[in-house]
Symmetry: C2
Subunit: 471 residues, 2 copies
Amino acid sequence: MKPSLSIFREVLYRLPPTIARLQHEAVNPDATLSVNGFIKSIRRQKRVSFAVLSDGSHAQGIQAVFLDTSLTDGLTNGTSVRLTGKIKDSPGQKQDRELLVDGVEILGGCDPEIYPIQKQALSTEYLRENMHLRARTDNVSAMLRLRSRLMHSVMNYFNTQGFYFTHTPILTGNDAEGAGESFRLAQFADPQPDRPNETSEFFGHPAHLTVSSQLHLEALASGLSRVYTLSPCFRAERSQTNRHLAEFWMLEAEWMDVNREGVQGICGLVEDSVKSYASDVIGGQDVEVLWKDVEEVRRKTLVDSLSKTWARMTYGDAIKALQDAKNVKFEFEPRWGRTLQSEHEKWLSETFVGGPLFITDYPGNLKPFYMRANEDGETVGCFDLIVPYVGELVGGSVREGRVDILESKMRKDGLGLGKHEYGWYADLRRYGGSPHVGFGMGFERLVAWLGGIDNVRECVPMPRWASKMLL
Amino acid sequence: MKPSLSIFREVLYRLPPTIARLQHEAVNPDATLSVNGFIKSIRRQKRVSFAVLSDGSHAQGIQAVFLDTSLTDGLTNGTSVRLTGKIKDSPGQKQDRELLVDGVEILGGCDPEIYPIQKQALSTEYLRENMHLRARTDNVSAMLRLRSRLMHSVMNYFNTQGFYFTHTPILTGNDAEGAGESFRLAQFADPQPDRPNETSEFFGHPAHLTVSSQLHLEALASGLSRVYTLSPCFRAERSQTNRHLAEFWMLEAEWMDVNREGVQGICGLVEDSVKSYASDVIGGQDVEVLWKDVEEVRRKTLVDSLSKTWARMTYGDAIKALQDAKNVKFEFEPRWGRTLQSEHEKWLSETFVGGPLFITDYPGNLKPFYMRANEDGETVGCFDLIVPYVGELVGGSVREGRVDILESKMRKDGLGLGKHEYGWYADLRRYGGSPHVGFGMGFERLVAWLGGIDNVRECVPMPRWASKMLL
């Protein structure tokens, strides 16, 4: 029997309703319809049986009620089914609606003895090993939906601010600005005999995977003024922390600083935008699922931060605060001119200010060549945004616009100024350059912070890190 | 003087208005404000001078009027400026509004003798060589805005249909399903001496750049039911056609086929979605710029196709039509069991049906292992969408859900069935699989079709192809 879809706007919807739509939209309680999904759990009683059916569209799925208990024959966890019946308001406390089932079709069986996604709690490590199936678990599917919603939030925010979404290249001749952490493409074994002029490099010269879209975004900003991207980036780092992936996604934006607000202007836009993403998702069902087992203090710190102005301090003041800190012993002594360690950032954001913290104007020798030198001759116009329990979420800067200063820094870093090296980057200042600024935000870290997730490996569908690449 | 922004909603906008906003939104004609941009052209007369100011936010920019002509001293094409003045309705025919300038600040000069973006028409090849500056030209900036708008259209469409946006991995152990066109990462020269167990492969085994997100999307669809992505894909193809890039972006979607509509259902969603993107952008200023010099027949074919149902025919019928074709001499003889050549696709869509054409049910031996075998034992449940003047825009299929048939095809193709080879892909059928379908669309080809652009190299910000990778 063909299910009735007349309760939905047929013009708008090409596909039958998902469970999310059945839970949230107007339904006709007398219409018979079919719902597809997989069995999350099943409870058989004498006179009535219950199953939770999920299609991954909604954190709770929908409760299926079987007044004819024989209909549940052959149903086990993980089985894919097509259930036909009527949607009713649920008399139960735990769910709003349920499906009163009068027909069952098994689409794909699932042997309960060997199904890797058992009902009991499964360790994070076990689920990583079963990466192809982990999207069926509550937490991973909630994270995936959260990512999707955040992607929409990001695009809405930047569109409203007059930015254009762009796709910067993944393969580039740039080698991570000399930082030495980039992946390189393998050469091809043999040039084709019929094309002797081709080298074994596909592009004629070495190709690297991008470590950041920034330089390319600056080229596009010279034409479009406000651009952003959410792009994969790659770092061949061996460090095995809970904040690093070999392949990750970065939100990067670059724009003309019309009113010359400098670093403070970037911080303003970043704070405004992150609060906007947070307010789009906090309180939603997916975030509720993810926060279920997280300590209350983390959640409270996050929620409180959304209604207050975030702290800002210079690197110099941060060093002073660390040096004056009582009752805390740092492994690394905080001293002007040295990198802030994770322990320092953690203390500053979690203890000292108790919320997100912008640290600005780092010494130039700690930062890349493209950041604008401040008048003091020592620091550069930049910031890191540190958030509690995650650490660095965003980094950004005013870009050096003075071509002579830029080129001298590039020479010092050993970056070639030829047209096919980094000369094009200096060119952007030579032909009608304009003061501009930008930032990069690790998208997995945003997901980690808003979702209360400890490890960025659980913030991306299929994580890759040193020695680990499944699927 | 600080410009007045009070005419805009200050809460919503973090940044000063772009030219697009000044052209489209309510403005106070008595407010003085500042606009940043670069000079596109300048015309000096005795009593009044005019310049076109662009910030890339709007196809036409804005006309700046200088009643005090001395204000234009030092202004040349490409110079970045901050102009202060009042927005007025224009008495001219060609623009709606203009900026009556009373203050000029030069932000970045531009030597007109050496500026690569001269006013006269510049060849496509020349602009490719000056890729870092080409976003300042009318056509490239219109293409970039079109891409951004299409990205929004795509996300709106799939969100409405209950799909979640996902980020599938770029690095993968899969080697293009044996097709041999994938890029591989280089090994690292030396394993670290202090970590003797690490091989020179960063991930412990070879890593390739993805050629398609499909297999990974299927894993995510097994949990979320409806997923899509717009992801970079890579093909190490040496062919130098106007339809191929080594790095390109592909829109791929995968979903549970709830009502078992099969190939016809996929075609329905694809047609509906592409018409929806087209109706979002056709008639807009950016598309107008891009279509300026394109033959009228191409535009008419495109616009006409949006209000009619697109043709569908089987591969078998397509072969018959080609064999029966009068007054046309094909280089390759059309014969059942052979690949359709570009010349065949071109004739079928441009001459035979005069619009987009779905060709369905190709012989299985021409298509990959994952497509579902039809009952006839020869063909598979798949389609290609051919559009006039571009060729193949979309390809998709019903996925083989019968694990025994799938595994036997995989063995035949020499694909390993171990857990860390392609075994995980077969697993998706083993544990509660469900009939599902999907497609992939080359995003640059969509831009080419809707923008009337001949070569996909002009459909992406920074194209890469064999022997060519600038920036």
